[in-house]
């Protein structure tokens, strides 16, 4: 068709066809989807509450749900200081809250990392946060650093070391991935793999020189445990998690645009370098806060965003809240299981998240294999 007639046709097109019905239809579709999403969020939130409530009833001493609720509401059936109330308020409630908060934090980290790396297999561990935390915690345990320090520091020493290690090692990875043009995502992945391997080696060395008791401690720490959660931890983690979470939430649209490639996002008006730097730092901080008291709870950051993406699509504006809730649910469920399967002992929670996560991940893999059209 010649240029002229095509122009004429287009002009005619524009003049005759009103855009209104389509617009109304699309508007309705979007409104419907938004409502659907809100409903999903609501259902998950209710599920989380129920699960937390159930978790409060379970344990070495089983407590009635009604009693739990009454105790939470400061009800009349329990005179203050009763044993059940103490178990609920001093042991279980902080633990359940901590699982929910850290689960949410880790899952959001995963969602953001997978987006930033444009790789569905990325997780917060990739930037060296988890391995850094584990390494420094192990260092403290093996060399028994606590004996040089004043007594009040000793109980939080491992957490402090883990927190510092997480930030230090992730900063090292960021440094390695820095080029003249900014932070290079491919380099970031490679640097992460290299540094994780290095840290793994160092961990091996530490394991070699550690005595049996310490070795056991290290192993358990790297599988995570919520035993011994207390209100101070809950408070610190809640505070530490909120700032980076808010910042990531602020950048949700820009992060969504970056899913389509950094260059593309730049052309669409996103300050890519700035947002990448800030959100990676947020991820490092979030993960550090989440693992420093409890040890490494694996698989949450990897699997949760995947499950949620099936529900909401890749858009981080809906994926972030969804992942947060689903992560909280996954870890709370895992910790509850970890507590009750071999009463009075406990399983490491990381084992349970893996046990719940791996089958699902394999299922996703099989789905993908079915859909794959090339080698």
């Amino acid at each position: 068709m010649s240029e002229l007639s095509s122009r004429a046709l287009n002009a005619a097109h524009a003049a005759t066809e009103p855009a209104l019905p389509l617009r109304a239809h699309l508007q309705a579709t979007l409104v419907y989807k938004a409502r659907q999403q809100r409903r999903t969020l609501l259902v998950l939130a209710l599920l989380l509450l129920l699960l937390m409530l159930m978790s409060l009833t379970q344990g070495a001493m089983s407590i009635d749900a009604t009693e739990v609720i009454a105790s939470l509401l400061g009800g009349v059936n329990n005179e203050p200081g009763s044993f059940a109330q103490q178990v609920i308020w001093d042991i279980r409630l902080p633990r359940v809250l901590l699982t929910a908060i850290t689960g949410a934090g880790l899952a959001v980290c995963g969602a953001v990392m997978q987006g930033l790396c444009r790789n569905p297999l990325a997780d917060p561990g990739l930037i060296g946060v988890s391995s850094g935390a584990a390494l420094f915690a192990a260092l403290v345990m093996v060399f028994d650093v606590g004996r040089f320090l004043p007594t009040p520091v000793q109980p939080v020493l491992i957490s402090l070391a883990a927190f510092a290690g997480a930030l230090l090692i992730s900063q090292l990875v960021f440094r390695l991935a820095h080029t003249m043009l900014g932070l290079n995502t491919l380099l970031l992945i490679l640097a992460g793999v290299a540094i994780n391997a290095l840290v793994g080696t160092l961990m091996g060395l530490l394991a070699f020189i550690a005595d049996d008791g310490t070795l056991r401690l290290i192993t358990f720490w790297s599988m995570g445990s919520y035993a011994g959660s207390n209100w101070t931890q809950v408070l610190l983690v809640a505070l530490g998690v909120s700032a980076p979470l808010l910042l990531l939430w602020r950048y949700r649209t820009a992060l969504t645009l970056m899913l389509g490639g950094e260059q593309d996002a730049q052309y669409l008006g996103v300050e890519v370098q700035q947002i990448k730097r800030l959100s990676l730092f947020c991820v490092a901080l979030l993960t550090a806060v989440c693992v420093c008291f409890t040890g490494i709870v694996g698989f949450v950051g990897l699997v949760t965003p995947h499950i949620c993406r099936l529900l909401s699509g890749p858009d981080l504006r809906s994926l972030i809240p969804l992942s947060a809730l689903a992560g909280a649910i996954l870890v709370t469920a895992a910790d509850t299981l970890a507590r009750i399967v071999i009463i009075p002992a406990e399983l490491p929670v990381g084992l349970v998240t893996s046990m719940l996560g791996v089958p699902f991940f394999l299922y996703l893999l099989l789905q993908y294999r079915r859909g794959a059209r090339h080698v």
């Binding site: 240029e3 899913l259 490639g261 730049q266 669409l268 699509g313």
Partner: protein, 256 residues
């Protein structure tokens, strides 16, 4: 739209563009031609604000390009990349709407522009598909629609510049024709477009302005009459060929 005066990119032996001066007028459809390595993509990256000029000045709307913020620039120029599809399966409608990010407007407003364009480009059947499941031609159409949508202002696209890098390299001739019709309708709507092309005859069919590059230098720039000539094309591509005129359409055809 753009005014380049004595622009160089890179320096010394590794200069990718040398001493290029040219103007791109509003409402034109310019084809950038040249052999491989002549600096076509560098010119495009330069105009997109991605490459910095080592010497000379790049003015976009009378203002140095470097002074534009990326958010401002995103409302004025779009770049249709020859890019891989994202691994994440956005639905086409959601993917299109992302283009309005820089405008800081309500969703209803974005949707109004989007639905008009969707109708114009007949994209309705694709809207609910994930972008990972589109065919090559469909993906190209969606990319184009998104680039266009990125530029729509209340006054249309008269203010805007669309940059395209080999947009039809992977398309069959039917889809190529469809694509260029869409591109021409963008220009007919007042937009300015600059497209890097390998196929000189395709360029002759669609473009009204030409930029010929040779080893990083400007060989010629202007309309078909002055620029799309046998001497220029033979020099530009280092081939012996003949320029023919098609009586019916009045178009030029380079036979080599």
């Amino acid at each position: 739209m753009f005014k380049l005066s004595q622009v160089s990119v890179g320096c010394g032996d590794r200069a990718r563009l040398r001493d290029v001066s040219l103007t791109i007028r509003q409402g034109s459809l310019t084809a950038v031609l040249g052999a491989n390595g002549a600096g076509k993509s560098s010119l495009l990256s330069l105009l997109a604000g991605e490459l910095q000029a080592a010497a000379g000045e790049v003015l976009f709307k009378q203002q140095p390009l470097a002074q534009w913020s990326s958010q401002q620039l995103a409302t004025q120029r779009a770049f249709m990349l020859q890019q891989q599809r994202p691994v994440f399966d956005f639905l086409v409608l959601d993917y299109l709407l992302l283009a309005r990010h820089a405008w800081l407007e309500s969703q209803a407003q974005s949707l109004a522009y989007a639905s008009e364009l969707i109708q114009r480009l007949a994209l309705q059947p694709l809207l609910e598909k994930p972008i990972t499941r589109l065919s090559g031609g469909e993906w190209q159409r969606v990319q184009f629609a998104r680039a266009w949508l990125q530029l729509v202002s209340p006054e249309g696209v008269g203010h805007a510049m669309l940059l395209l890098d080999e947009p039809t390299a992977a398309l069959d001739i039917y889809q190529q024709r469809q694509f260029y019709q869409a591109l021409q309708s963008f220009v007919a709507a007042g937009g300015t477009a600059l497209v890097v092309l390998h196929d000189v005859n395709q360029a002759a069919r669609v473009a009204d302005q030409f930029i010929l590059l040779q080893q990083g230098q400007l060989l010629a720039a202007g309309d078909a009459e002055h620029c799309f000539t046998q001497t220029n094309l033979c020099r530009c591509y280092q081939v012996a060929g003949q320029l023919q005129h098609d009586e019916q359409s009045g178009r030029r055809y380079f036979h080599f």
